[in-house]
Amino acid sequence: MRTWRWVSVLAMLVLVLAACGQQAASPSESEGSEAPADSAEPAPSESEGTGEPVAGGTLVFAGARLAASLDPARTSDGESFRVLQQIYEPLIDLAPGSSSELVGVLAESWEGEPEDTTYVFNLREGVTFHDGTPLNAEAVKINFDRMQNFVEEIQGDAYYYGQFMDGFGPDNLITSVEATDELTVTINLREPAPTFLYQITLTPFSIVSPAILESTNADSVDGTFGTDVVQGGTGPFVLEDYVPEDNATLVRNEDYWDTPAYLDRLIIRPIADPAARLQALQGESVQGFDLVNPSDYETVTDEGFSLLERLSFNTLYLGITPTARETVAALTTDDDTENDRTDLEEIYGGEESPLQDLAVRQAVAMAIDKEALIGPFYGGRGAAADTFLPETSAWAEAVAAGVEPTTFDADGARDLLEGAGFTDENPATINFWFPTEVTRPYMPDPAGLHQAIKQMLEDAGFVVNSQSDIWDSPGYLFDGQNGYYDMHFLGWTGDYDDPENFYGVHFGYSQGEPAAQFGCAVDGLDDAINTATSETDEAARGEAWATAAGLIHENVCFVTIAHGDTALAFDDTVQDYEPNPTGSESFRTVWLSGE
């Protein structure tokens, strides 16, 4: 009896706790009638179907992770940007929903064309940082100078500054930043950089309060700017609390220079697993989340949630490296035994790569039915990729003009293979790598995509050996990017809308050598890319990139597979969230209808 008494007490306790929760209004019920516990603001009231935004309320939103660092200059991933761009602002930004239109943020206006080496930014008057200090030209200069002079230990974190500004130190792209007067900043460049304005729209180029930079000793390796909860931004939200792995709590900046945000509080929670994010929405512990699994699109809409599609700005490609086997062999015969790759040598077995033959590479491109992948793997929302540039890019059409799309034709691929001397008795054998323990917006299911494409290649007469490795280890990214794999999956999410950020980053020559990842040594490609990169006239730039892209696709240095749309899900209280293909999105205009 005594035992059952214990069991009963425990069961009672559980039931009482469950019942207590039932008595409290569920989150969605409480929205319309009760202000959040800590808020002194009036409760969000129902918009009564007028569609007019109302202020108030707390929005809990789930992403996959929180910010890697709270120092915007030292971040390089979308999840970090999501949190930080609510707090910090750049001089100029992409217009909401656009990947190419620029709008002034901290700079009211600016002067400078792609062919110029001087850019003048006229700052907004009356903008203050969250710590109450004013935004002025000197503050902007301090921020740019800070990034240029990052100590070596920090440079590794500041990927975007290093990449876009051609490294660090006095010899990089920026020759000087001058505070011409209280509200005018002049940035002088070493040479014209046609994409400069787009590059500085990124979150790492946000302007931080100099007082905060100083008080947190931000430029020292031991500085605490990246970890402390500080009020150093100018954005519509102020960081109130930050618990890694748990939540980032932001509150409305009442002194914002533009219309303040509607939400009282914005809480961003990290939930790594897409299925768990969906359950959190279903269980009402969040009101919205990002990166819906494509296979859940139907569930989301069937259950009455809204699905906001973010048009793709990414591309999955099949990297083809005819030189992989030579590169690996050279590593192993080298005196430097530390870099020996006998593991890969054993896989290649000393055989010559059939991919050295252009006809074989063309057969690979022809054998893949890209359209057939969109339904099962992208929930029917992505698009087959004829070029590296997603359709949302303003340059897509110009670049496509130079690229002859490859039509799916399994028989044609087989004929090409036979023409190159590969038959059923003497097949073209290729090793095809895919990454494990990762999903990306362009690659929602690497193993599944691999299996599907492998089947297509085998149908065309190839013999395909499946190989895989862990994404985050040198085994995959390092080997793939160093050109050790015959064929591999990889992709790219654009940072800003310019072909240079897609083709240039991947195929640009370094010291006269083609990028190791593809070993794509094509006559005239180096010159074509250099011409396209430095061309400042928009029309001519489009044509130049079309020429460069044409050479890359003609020689099948890679096969672009798909552009994957991503999507957000919200419950019916969340209004006016505007997705952007680049993922650069603000919660300032978001409001809760209290329904």
Partner: protein, 335 residues
């Protein structure tokens, strides 16, 4: 007793030194590199080299290890390669979450495990015993991720009576962090609704995490009680007409608890080491997921210092268990 505790504490030094060396070497044997994890698709060879250099990973192993030890000697456990956050700060922020989860799981496992073990032992061979055996086998063999997802689906979505994830309803409560124990912080803030809400958030993850310890504790209690029930002193106690409640609590349970306490100690140590799956499924920001992410991302500093702290806690918990033997059984004397 004092000497025993002191000796065990001194033994900590070689144990922890051994742990540091093993972990230091093991993580560097793992495939992977923090630089690739930091840079992702953007890991060009030059950028990788720059990051490796900045992190000191291009230096000889013994130099890296000695520098780590010298940091430890100054009680500096370093900071994360990925986030630059201080490892101790991060640990202290997450560990209370793990403590709460462990407490919930143990409460569930103990309050059910010991009575059920006792019951099945006393009704040996009955249908209740068979049902208990089946239940404990199911408890041990059911994968946590499956049980966790099922519990969530059932009690948070289909019959929504409990929260699906997180430590408190962030929409309703904004609790200032003091101890990082959500229940305590809510009480300190005078938010009694928040205390109840935080307790409700503990139920599903507590059950998911407590199921395996429950099954183990139940089995051990059953076996141990059966042994004790056959002892002469129990027969004597029954023969002299003592009420069965007194016999069970004073003679049977107390003597049967020794092996159970050992298991509880080990389980506590294991649970405090973090529960990756439960934490992931229930969005629980504890140490398990923290260490797991560090391993996936090759964040060496977090792995080596985090594991060191967990090893320290594991050893201390087991020391506490050893000490508790003396209280449970006064015949045990440490010298």
């Amino acid at each position: 007793m004092g000497k025993f505790i002191l000796r065990r504490l001194l033994l900590l030094i070689p144990i922890l030194l051994g742990v540091t060396l093993l972990i230091f070497l093991f993580i560097r044997l793992l495939p992977g590199d923090p630089a690739s994890a930091i840079l992702g698709e953007r890991a060009t060879p030059e950028a990788t080299e720059r990051v490796r250099n900045a992190l000191g990973l291009d230096r000889p192993l013994h130099e890296q290890y000695l520098e780590y030890l010298s940091g430890l000697a100054r009680l500096d456990l370093g900071s994360s390669f990925l986030t630059n956050r201080d490892v101790v700060d991060d640990f202290l922020q997450r560990f209370p979450a793990t403590v709460e989860l462990t407490a919930a799981a143990l409460l569930f496992a103990l309050t059910l495990g010991i009575p059920l073990g006792m019951l099945t032992a006393k009704r040996r061979g009955s249908w209740m015993d068979s049902a208990g055996t089946v239940l404990s086998l199911v408890g041990i063999s059911i994968p946590i991720f499956f049980l966790g997802l099922m519990l969530k689906w059932l009690f948070a979505i289909e019959v929504p009576i409990l929260p699906d994830s997180g430590r408190i309803s962030l929409i309703d409560y904004n609790i200032p962090r003091v101890t990082n124990l959500m229940t305590v912080d809510a009480a300190l803030a005078g938010e009694w609704g928040g205390v109840v809400d935080a307790l409700r958030h503990l139920i599903l993850p507590g059950i998911a995490l407590g199921t395996i310890p429950l099954a183990i504790i139940m089995r051990i209690t059953r076996a141990s009680v059966i042994d004790v029930l056959n002892e002469d002193y129990v027969r004597t106690a029954n023969a002299k007409g003592l009420p069965s409640v007194i016999v069970d609590s004073r003679h049977v349970l107390r003597n049967a608890l020794l092996p159970v306490v050992t298991v509880i100690g080990l389980q506590t140590g294991l649970l405090l080491g973090g529960a990756i799956l439960t934490e992931t499924i229930f969005g629980w920001g504890g140490v398990g997921k923290w260490i797991y992410d560090a391993v996936v991302n090759n964040d060496y500093q977090v792995i080596q210092s985090g594991v060191l702290l967990l090893a320290l806690i594991f050893v201390l918990v087991n020391l506490a268990v050893d000490v508790s033997y003396a209280f449970l059984n006064p015949r045990i004397r440490y010298s």
